[in-house]
Amino acid sequence: MTTIETAPPRPAAGPLPKSRQKMGRYFAYGFLILSIIPIVVGYAWLLIATVSFRTEGLLPRNAEGGIGGFTLSNWDFVFESAIWNAMVNSLLIAVFMVIGVGLASTSGGYALSRMKFAGRKTFLTGTLVLHAFKAEMLLIAIFFVLRFLGDIPIIGGFIGFNTVGGVALVMVALELPLGIWLMKGFFDNLSWDMERAALIDGASRFRVWWQIMVPQVRPGIAALSLFTFIVGWNAYLVPFTFTIGSKVSNMPVFLNQLISETAPVNWNLVAAVGLFQMIPLIIFFIFTQELLLNIYAGGSKGT
């Protein structure tokens, strides 16, 4: 009864008239296009700048100030060893992260999903809380942890302060809370029957994990690997804080040094270096769109 009273005064209740629907749609597209302008403009500048002598706004200019000035000289850096050194370091960090986060999360996620043990609840609560706030606050203390690790004989030279290994190790640890929750979620969704049957038949826990469970969570491992690769490849703050000197710097740190240590900044050179560093990301962006959107939804939800 009340529905009749609160019904809108419009004479013919029903779906919106076509013309209003159309207007709504124009409005939606208009809003979305406006919203992405800064992003599109930013990338447009990056692309234009990499192949021009200099830019004013989005316009390429030549030495005389006229429109034009197309040049490939900004890309000369690819013939220098410094950039390749930085690239190898970036790659090492990213690959080390994919392996480290992958292994620790796949085994830890399995135990947390399938096993009962003392401390399980504490660990889950702990990682969820850690996952919620960024660990950047701990960098000061991690500096001292790394210096301590560097004093360990033999392996210290690989994982201490100012080593690529040390940076990678810190990055693995900082991504773990997220990785563990993601993998736990994937294991939670698997059926219990096959695992139970294998255990009854006397298979060891490790064998069940490696031969039966891990193959079933491959999509999860793929998603986690892509995500951690991107995080490792883009890493700036941790490498910047824990490395000194160009030998151990990765691409973002190398790029930032170019920006902050030269005056005046050659923006066209740094744009080219920036674009160069984005090549793997552009490939991922083109070929794994669906997966990327899913990762950033599921991967950060905590379940």
């Binding site: 939606a28 500048w45 043990f117 706030f133 560093q277 990327l292």
Partner: protein, 335 residues
């Protein structure tokens, strides 16, 4: 109902191998399964202990010392609560605290929550492919390396004749041709750079929540003559209440403790602490050398106070999301 069936299946499986009931397992088996669980957990536990637990304790201890570059190689001397006293009486403490609150809530309300919600609502109201395209473009900043991303914004906001914004409407943001992020309107650009990253996270979460609203509910409302605004207010928003709360708490924490983009864009400037936030203060006291002096202990003190605030929020967030449902007991052990 399903749970009951599962429990029965568990009992049957137990009976099949002659195992005792779920409550009483022999001690030997319990110990063995705990040992193997620790084997699986070992890598994760070792890393979390080293880089979170030990680091957290170390941070707390550091905040009671006076460690800085000048006495870096000496034994640590403890100075009690001196650092805390210094922090709360710091001439710039009120300014930095105000900046932090302003930064966190402005970015949260306008971008990480507000724009994220609008983007999710709008992209789910247009054809699927188009919505997907716009969400994908919005994901780009998040995929871009922070250094490159900030570089783009610096070029958008730099002084005439190079800045892109200054070519269009130089008067509006108050620098008339000058540098915007280090002059005319630093806060606008600090919030924009962070907001364009933050909005996409909420957008994706809200989108998947909106897409899981049953279609017949929306159709029924439309047939009854409900307009777009009423459908949003009375159906969509109540249906995504939990994701909204989740993003609000999660992003508050995340904004509070992150500073990478501010460090790259303005590094707290221009001038004295204009865009300096709490997390950045902690970092720059310890790592950025003010006249060559790294004040490790003082930086750690800023960090500890912020961690304490963040922990309170984090506990609220765990409570809010009925955490116990997420960590239900694993059933396979009842074999």
């Amino acid at each position: 109902m399903t749970k009951q069936i599962e429990e029965e299946a568990d009992a049957l499986a137990g009976a099949a191998v002659g195992a005792p009931g779920p409550q009483r397992r022999p001690l030997g088996r319990r110990v063995r399964s705990t040992v193997s669980a620790y084997g699986f957990m070992a890598p994760a536990v070792a890393l979390v202990l080293t880089f979170f637990v030990v680091a957290g304790i170390l941070l707390l201890i550091l905040s009671f010392t006076d460690l800085q570059s000048t006495n870096f190689n000496d034994a640590w001397t403890f100075v009690g609560f001196d650092n805390y006293e210094r922090l709360f009486t710091d001439a710039f403490f009120p300014k930095i605290a105000r900046n932090t609150v302003f930064y966190v809530f402005t970015t949260l309300i306008f971008f990480n929550l507000g724009l994220a919600l609008v983007l999710a609502l709008v992209t789910t109201s247009i054809p699927r492919r188009a919505g997907f395209f716009f969400r994908l473009v919005w994901l780009l900043p998040r995929l871009t390396p922070s250094v490159v991303y900030i570089m783009m914004w610096q070029r958008i906001a730099s002084a005439d004749p190079f800045g892109i914004y200054n070519q269009i409407a130089p008067e509006f943001l108050g620098a008339s041709g000058g540098n915007l992020y280090l002059g005319g309107s630093p806060w606008t650009f600090v919030i924009l750079t962070n907001g364009f990253i933050g909005a996409s996270f909420g957008m994706i979460i809200f989108t998947s929540a909106l897409e899981s609203i049953p279609k017949d509910l929306l159709t029924a409302a439309k047939v009854d003559g409900a307009g777009t605004w009423r459908i949003i207010r009375d159906i969509k928003l109540p249906m995504i209440k939990w994701p909204l709360l989740f993003i609000a708490t999660y992003q508050t924490l995340s904004l509070l403790t992150s500073f990478e983009y501010i460090l790259l864009l303005t590094n707290g400037g221009p001038g004295l602490f204009t865009t300096e936030v709490w997390a950045l203060t902690s970092y720059s006291r310890a790592f950025a050398t003010y006249a060559g002096n790294n004040q490790w202990a003082y930086g750690a003190t800023w960090a500890i106070v912020l961690v304490a605030i963040a922990l309170v929020l984090a506990v609220a967030y765990v409570k809010l999301f009925r955490f116990n449902e997420l960590i239900e007991e694993p059933r396979i052990e009842n074999l």
